[in-house]
Every structure is written in C-alpha cells, then in structure tokens.
Amino acid sequence: MNGAVDGAVSAPASAADVAAYTPVCALDRLPREAGVCALVDGHAVAVFRTHDDEVFALGNYDPFSRASVLARGIVGTRGDVPFVASPMHKQGFDLRTGQCLDDAAVRVPTYDVAVRDGTVLVGPARESPGEGP
C-alpha cells in the first residue's frame, strides 16, 4: 500500500488507523527516487519515494542475498512499474506489491504507509505479504 505525499492514500486508511502508524522521518529526509531504512515494531522496513512523490514501504530484507539492504537500491521504472533494484545482485522488486520482477516465486512483504503533515508514517505489514523463497 502506498500513500501520496500529503494526500489521500490510494487504498484509503482511516484517520484512526493512520494515527496508530509509526512516524519514521520527515518527508524531506526521503529524497525523490531514494529509500531509507526504518525500524518499525522491530522490523527493518525500506521506505521509498518515487519521482511523482508516491511513497511505498517494503521489507528491507533481500531474500536473494539474505541481507537487509533493499532501501539502498536504485529506484526507477521498468515499463510502468515503479521498482527498486537490490544493491546486491540487482533483482528488481515492484514497489507497489513487493513482487520480484525477475523471479515470479519471490515476493517481499509490503507495509501500509502514509504521509501526514510532512511526516512519513509506516503502518502494519499488509495482510498477505506473499511467500518468501
């Protein structure tokens, strides 16, 4: 799930829900087409911001290299898909779904995310994050 900067999230979350999210950083700590790693309920979460100011959150753990690194990947597009390339071995992951673009069997967890008053907030992991490898 993703949130537009200071706007409605695409899958609307209630104000009460968002209030329970973890604030992780000011939006200006997150440059366009970059990621940061946040600690959310003990989990390492990679938060990304795309060129059009959408914000996404994935698990930071790269199942291929077994290292916690996805936030350090390069953000761009493959076709129309916003994606991050793992900094280790370049596998791409769809920022919207966590689906690996190079291996249909691999998907990383996604997290709800929102931007309120210039602060990036990360919510719980989505219901069915899919299976790891």
């Binding site: 973890t22 604030p23 992780v24 950083c25 000011a26 700590r29 997150l30 440059p31 366009r32 087409e33 970059a34 940061v36 790693c37 946040a38 600690l39 309920d41 003990g42 989990h43 390492a44 938060v47 795309t50 060129h51 698990g59 753990y61 290299s65 077994r66 290292a67 916690s68 690194v69 350090r72 990947g73 390069i74 953000v75 761009g76 597009t77 493959r78 076709g79 916003p82 994606f83 390339a85 900094p87 280790m88 370049k90 791409g92 602060t119 990036v120 790891g132």
Partner: protein, 843 residues
C-alpha cells in the same frame, strides 16, 4: 608405438612457422605423446617478422609471439641462441652448437630462408646489411645514427619496407631495382608506376631497370653504389647499404645430411611435407613442395598444420597456396591476388586508373566475364577483402563488375554475398563457414590473427550472420535509453546536461533503472567533476558509490584508504591498524598494494573515515568505476636492477588520475625495469622503465578475460608519457561502452591498437589538446570525496542504520570468528528486534 613411451620431436628453427608448428602441436594434442624440443638460433623467441619494420616504433617486445619466453605446455622445451650443426638421419641425432647432442624420433626443419646477397664486389663491406632479423635492424639503426645517405638494393616488397625504414631513420634513401618497375612480382607496369609516384612523393629516390655493379668503398666502408652510369663509379652515395634482393631457402643442414634438395635450393618434400627421410619433415621457406618455394607466411602455416596432422596420423596435404598479398607500404595500399598478370587463356582486364588520386585498380576476369581471376590494387585496397575470396570461391561476378573497384562515391562498393566455402582469412585458412559456425556457438577462429587485412570482412560476415538469426546487435543501454554510452556521453557534452532528470527528459523514457542511472552518474562525474553525492546525484549511484565504500555479502562495507603507489609509512600502517582494531574490522592486503578493512556497518563509515582523514588518508575509490591503484615495484631507489624511479612515477600517476570516473574500474602499474615485478602489463595502463625512459603499454586486464597490455609507445620521457596517458584515458572514457574494460574497448575499435596509436600518439583526430585540457580540469578540480562528505551534514545524514534509530545496529548483521578475525555470519531470514529498542523522534 607403445602408449607409455614418450617420443621426442625436435623442431629446428623458431621463426613464425616453427612457432606455429609448436602451437598446433600443443593445441592438437601432439604433446600428449611427444616431448618437443625447439632449437632456435636467434637470441629471442619467435616474433612477428611480417611486421618487422614496426620494430623501430614499438621495440622487440611488442613483436614477440612469446613474451614470457616459454610455452604454456611444460612438455615443450625451447633452446634459444643455439644452432644445429649437423643432422645424422641414420642415427636420428643432431649435434648442437653448444656441443650437445639431441636424439629425435621425428625432426621438423623450419629453418626458413636467408636474404640473397648478390655477389657484387664490396657486398661484404662494413655498412652493408640485410633485412631479416631484429638484430639486423638494430645494426642498421646503429649504422644510420652516424650516416646521411642510404641505399636499398631491391625494389620488391621487402626492399620497399627497408627503404621506408632507412627513410624513417633520417637518411636520404635510394632504391635500386633491376626490373623495370617496383614490386615486379606483385604488380604490373601501370601499378608499379602508380606505386612509384607515391614512393617518390615521400622523398625516396628510385632507380629502376638498373643493376648494381658494385658497392663502392671509401676508408674501408661502404660509401655508395656503382650503377654503371658514373665516370668515377659512384652513382649513388650511400653510407648504409641494405640488400633485399630476394631470399633463398636455408637447406644446408638437409643438404649435408643427404636429404633430397631442389636444384635451385630448398628441401624437397611431398604433399605431407615429408622429406626424403621418413622421419624428417620440412615446413615454411626452407621447404619446396613440388620444387616450389613459397615466400609468404600463410603457406608456411599451412605446411606446419599439415605436418602436425600427419604426425597424428591424419591425411592432410599441402597442395599449393594462395599467394595473394596485401600490405600497406609507406602509407600506400598495395594488393595483388589470383592471376594478377592475366596469364589465363582469354583473360580480360578491367582497369581503373586515377593518376590524380594515385589509385590503380585492375581486375582480371574470365573470357565470359563471369568469374574473377585476380587483380592488382594500388593506392586503395579496400576492395581486397571482398575480391580475393571471390577468386578462390569462383563466385559469379555481378553484371557490372567495375562497380567492385569504383570508389563508393561514384556508385561503387557493390555488395556481393560470399559463398560459405569462400576463404576469408588466407593466413590461417578460415572460411566464411568456419566463422559462421564459430559465431553460432560463441566460439573463436584464428581469422584476422596474422596480417589482419581480413578483419573488416570478418566483422561483416559476423554481422550478417547475426542479422540472419534475427539478432540485431543492440547496443542500447537499457529500456530507458536507445543509445550507447558513447552517444550518451556526447549528448551530455553537447547539451551541457548536469542532472539525470535533464538527460532522461531529453534523450530517454521512463524514470531510469539500475543500469542507466549509474551510467549517467559516471558520465556526469567525468564531465562535471563534482561530488558524486552532491546535487541529488546520490540516488543515481550504485550502492558502492552511494556510500563511498564497497558493500559486502552481509550488507556491511569495506573501507580502502588510498596508498599511492603502495608506498606507506610505518605511522600510516599503525593508524590503519589502530582503526581496524578499534572498529573490529577484518583486514586483508589487496592485489593493488593497499589494505582493505572489512565489516564496517553503514553508520560506522563516517567515524572510521574521520579517523583516517585526520591521519592524512583519503578515499581510495575502491568503490568506484574509477582509477583504483597504480601498483609499483620498488624501482631504482632501492633495487639494484632498477633503471627508473618507478615508485615516484606510480605515485604521481595515481595522484593525477585519482577519482577519475570511467566506464569500468581502471588500474595502472609501473615497473622500474624490464623484469616487470609490478606486473604492469596486467593493467589497463602499464609502464615499464627503459634505459631511455618509459615504455607505455595499454589494454591489460585481469578478471575473467585476462589480457596482456600491448605497447602503445616506447622510450618516452616523463612529460610525453603523461600526455599520452591523459589522451588515452579520456579517449577511453569518452568512447567505451558501459562496463567495457580497456582490452575489449581497444578490440572494438576499427583498427584496434593501431587506431588508439593514431588518436593518442599521432593525434589523428586533432583531439589531443582537448583531451589534455579535460584531464587538466580533472586534476585541478579533484577533491577527496570522504573529506567533503565529513564536512557536509546533509551528506552524512544518509549514513545511518535506521532513519528513526540511527544508533541501533541492524540486527541482520552478525559475525563469527575465523582465524582470529571477524567474518560475516548470515541470518536465516528477516530478524526482528525486541520491541524495547528505543525509536527516535522523526526529524
């Protein structure tokens, strides 16, 4: 033969053909059953005699086929500087000049040929030379140093090469040819006349249709030639006289051993190149299959292959050879192929002569005009690659065969589809079908490996094959940029772009990816010279550049401070040791003569670097596609063999090119003498000291496709060396593909290393001063990336484990101990921290 009994094969002669024989013997497995002993009389291993004249420019080493002095196969033994005095075919032994004796099971004679020196009076005076070996050329160079005039007796192919060499050594040079024209064996009168105009325009003085009566003596030395037309007998003054009046097979050993030889010289052999003794073989210029001598390297190679085949029990035969020739003499193309003199019954000639352009082209076609029989090309031999295979394959000519030799601007350049059996490379007998078969399985052939004249045709055959397979050679960078890195580099330069956003908006689509973003970042860095993390460029960088460190398998980084030239003080070593100890880093010495510190967490990098920068260290750019190190040996300061200060040069060069962003990593090396302890020829640029200065080698790569660097220029002074290096590096940076190292880049250029030499040394593109100015900007604009980062809070803010818990170590990073140091221990899956971990307030 018992499989357990190894046999001995002796090869006499280590010239081009002897070398080729040994190569083939190794490749085809003959050394599985035979120990090979090669006896060579020259003091050095085989070298490229075809390119002998380039010795004056590039030196002996660059010509060598065996720079290491030995074959990879330990079953081959090379005895150099040794002659065979006598062969006893009955006992199957031979006696060596060092008094030793060798027994053989099989003997291969590859003794080559000797220059023919006409027995005119004075032919053996001091100042008279022949033109065959590197030693000959060294002697000529020495004699020319104190001389003003020179003369070459013989206006054939080799004579003109020799004349060009004398001319290049600064002598007023005469060429005396008995025949009425130059290169009488290869070209006709009209072609010879065209060639003569070119040669005279270069300043050589020609005397054709004239016999040399004597070498004139003054003070016990050669002083000139008597051509019979001067009253005092001195027709032409010449302090240096070079005889190049043909060659004769060296058959003395065979003759003395009682083997059959031809009346006019040469060891008689059958189609398998076997002499009259069943255990003695002869190949190359010393052999005369069917009584005929073949004075070219390609037939010699073919004979060598035939003998290897025969020794393996094969039925290969040598039944004659294509005597086609193509060469560039003093910048003039000359080619002669097939029935160049139209001796076939009814043959017709089709001639294009353009005296203004200095071009003469002749096609010899069959009576019905359907087949090409041969031809002569002078001044422009670009059509040779297409024409020669048409002769050997008998392919039908197009309706307007003259289009084959017309300049492209006048409607020429006709395309002719070659049949599969057409021989593309005559030196190594490689057909079009062989090349296509190799292309289909990503294999290789030897096509183009000897004289190189067929390379453009080889390229065309391969491209045609790929096109036929629907595989276009797509050189697009990625889905976002339908252009090569070079085109992108030019576009950025022309439009003056300074950001990825500008570049992708103007030339690309989408928002980029992990391929194009680092490429654009590298191009911008090469052109702008600004900090890689500044101006929003951090998001373009691969993680190594993005964090100025090398990511390792558990997500930690390694740190490499620069140690220029590998020279470091004890205090410097202590600082590195203390930093490693205090941060618990694993340490290892790198191949580039510096120290790598492993296991740094992202958030530790600034603290580690603060310590290093305070102690005077700077970034080593181990993380960048950029200059890594310039390795050096200890050089003349300490080493008793050193002839130049290699450490000083390595330090100067490493500091000059540090931080320079390039298509791939760049490495350099400097050796203080020819022993080459710095392994400089394994580097992208390698410098080896000589008595007179430095030899510059380029294109050495390690890695998966290792390549030895090749000589670009020799005996350079410091200033020239740096100028050539500036040009070379920036020419590479501007034109190479993404992740293309220097060796494949050089190979990809039309003309290869020669092209690089034209651009870098001869400044053929007139780019030299521009490239030097660009490098000067790089040198003055250089700043240490880590020092700048430490001084900039915005850049530092990215070096945290968690944006909301910057001091909490990532729990995924674990270590275990191995041999007294920490090494990565990988987690089985995502690790969850206890909820007690404090999380900071968002900033």
């Amino acid at each position: 033969m018992s499989p357990h009994l190894r046999r001995t094969l002796v090869v006499v002669g280590h010239g081009m053909v002897g070398h080729r024989f040994v190569q083939a013997a190794i490749e085809r497995g003959l050394t599985e059953t035979h120990d090979v002993v090669v006896v060579g009389e020259e003091p050095r291993p085989a070298y490229d005699r075809v390119a002998l004249t380039s010795f004056f420019e590039v030196g002996a080493e660059a010509l060598s086929f065996l720079p290491t002095g030995e074959y990879d196969d330990p079953r081959v033994r090379l005895l150099l500087g040794t002659t065979v005095e006598e062969v006893d075919p009955a006992a199957r032994t031979l006696r060596l000049s060092d008094g030793g004796e060798l027994a053989y099971d099989e003997l291969v004679l590859a003794t080559g040929a000797a220059p023919f020196v006409p027995p005119v009076p004075g032919h053996d005076l001091p100042g008279c030379f022949v033109y065959r070996t590197i030693e000959d050329l060294e002697a000529i160079r020495e004699a020319a140093a104190g001389a003003r005039t020179g003369a070459v007796v013989g206006g054939g192919l080799l004579g003109l090469e020799a004349a060009n060499a004398l001319h290049g050594l600064g002598l007023e040079t005469h060429v005396v040819e008995m025949a009425p024209r130059l290169m009488p064996v290869q070209v006709d009168d009209a072609g010879g006349a065209t060639l003569a105009r070119h040669v005279e325009a270069l300043g050589l003085r020609l005397h054709t249709g004239v016999a040399t009566k004597a070498v004139v003596e003054r003070d016990g030395r050669a002083a000139g030639l008597d051509l019979g037309d001067a009253s005092d007998g001195l027709s032409v003054g010449a302090d240096v006289v070079v005889f190049s009046a043909g060659i004769r097979p060296r058959d003395a050993l065979a003759r003395a051993a009682g083997l059959d030889v031809a009346e006019r010289g040469g060891v008689l052999v059958d189609e398998q190149c076997r002499t009259s003794d069943p255990h003695v073989w002869a190949v190359g210029e010393c052999a005369v299959p069917g009584g005929r001598m073949y004075g070219l390297v390609a037939p010699g190679y073919a004979m060598a292959e035939v003998v290897v085949d025969a020794l393996l029990g094969g039925a290969g035969a040598f039944t004659g050879a294509d005597m086609s020739t193509k060469l560039k003499l003093m910048g003039v193309d000359v080619a002669s192929f097939g029935d160049a003199f139209a001796t076939t019954d009814g043959a017709l000639e089709l001639v294009l002569a353009d005296a203004v352009a200095g071009v003469y082209k002749k096609l010899v076609v069959s009576e019905d005009g359907r087949r090409l029989l041969g031809g002569i090309l002078v001044g422009d031999a670009s059509a040779y690659g297409v024409l020669r295979p048409m002769v050997s394959s008998g392919i039908e000519l197009p309706d307007n065969p003259e289009e084959l030799i017309l300049p492209a601007s006048r409607g020429g350049g006709a395309e002719v589809a070659l049949p599969d059996e057409a021989q593309v490379c005559s030196c190594n007998d490689v057909s079009k079908a062989d090349i296509v078969a190799a292309a289909a399985c990503d294999g290789t052939t030897r096509a183009g490996a000897t004289c190189g004249s067929c390379k453009p045709l080889v390229k065309r055959v391969i491209e045609e094959y790929y096109a036929s397979q629907g595989r276009t050679v797509d050189r697009s960078l990625c889905e976002h940029f339908a252009m090569t890195r070079q085109e992108l580099f030019d576009a950025v330069a022309v439009h003056g772009h300074t950001s990825f956003d500008e570049v992708v908006a103007a030339h690309g689509t989408g928002r980029g990816c992990d391929v194009c973003k680092p490429t654009v970042a590298s191009v911008l860095a090469s052109q702008l010279g600004r900090h890689v993390l500044g101006g929003g460029r951090a998001v373009l960088q691969d993680t190594n550049d993005a964090y100025l460190a090398n990511i390792q398998r558990n997500g930690t980084y390694s740190v490499v401070p620069r140690v220029p030239g590998g020279e470091i003080t004890p205090d410097g070593l202590i600082v590195i040791g203390e930093v490693a100890r205090d941060f618990g880093l694993y340490t290892k010495i790198t191949g580039g003569q510096r120290i790598d510190l492993f296991g740094a967490r992202l958030e530790q990098l600034p603290d580690i670097w603060r310590r290093l920068v305070d102690a005077g260290f700077e970034s080593g750019h181990a993380y960048g596609k950029s200059l890594r190190t310039v390795k050096s040996c200890v050089g003349s300061t300490w080493c008793r063999y050193g002839v130049q200060d290699s450490v000083r040069m390595a330090i100067d060069l490493e500091l000059r090119y540090r931080g320079l962003r390039s298509p791939h990593k760049l490495k350099g090396g400097v050796s203080g003498c020819a022993r080459e302890c710095a392994e400089a020829r394994a580097k992208d640029f390698g410098i080896i000291a000589t008595e007179k200065g430095w030899n510059l080698y380029v294109g050495g790569n390690g890695g998966a496709t290792p390549a030895h660097a090749r000589l670009l220029a020799g005996d350079l002074d410091d200033e020239t060396l740096v100028r050539y290096l500036d040009r070379f590096l920036l020419y590479y940076i501007r034109t190479a593909d993404r992740l293309q190292r220097t060796a494949p880049w050089i190979d990809s250029l039309d003309g290869g290393l020669d092209r690089v030499r034209e651009v870098v040394v001869d400044d053929a593109l007139g780019l030299g001063s521009e490239l030097e100015a660009a490098m000067a900007r790089h040198v003055t604009g250089y700043r240490d990336e880590w020092r700048d980062t430490l001084e900039d809070p915005d850049k530092l803010a990215r070096f945290v484990s968690f944006v909301n818990a910057p001091d909490v170590p990532d729990p995924h990073i674990g270590f275990r101990a191995e041999r007294g140091q920490q090494v990565p221990a990988e987690p089985d899956g995502p690790v969850v921290l206890g909820s007690a971990i404090p999380v900071g307030v968002p900033r």
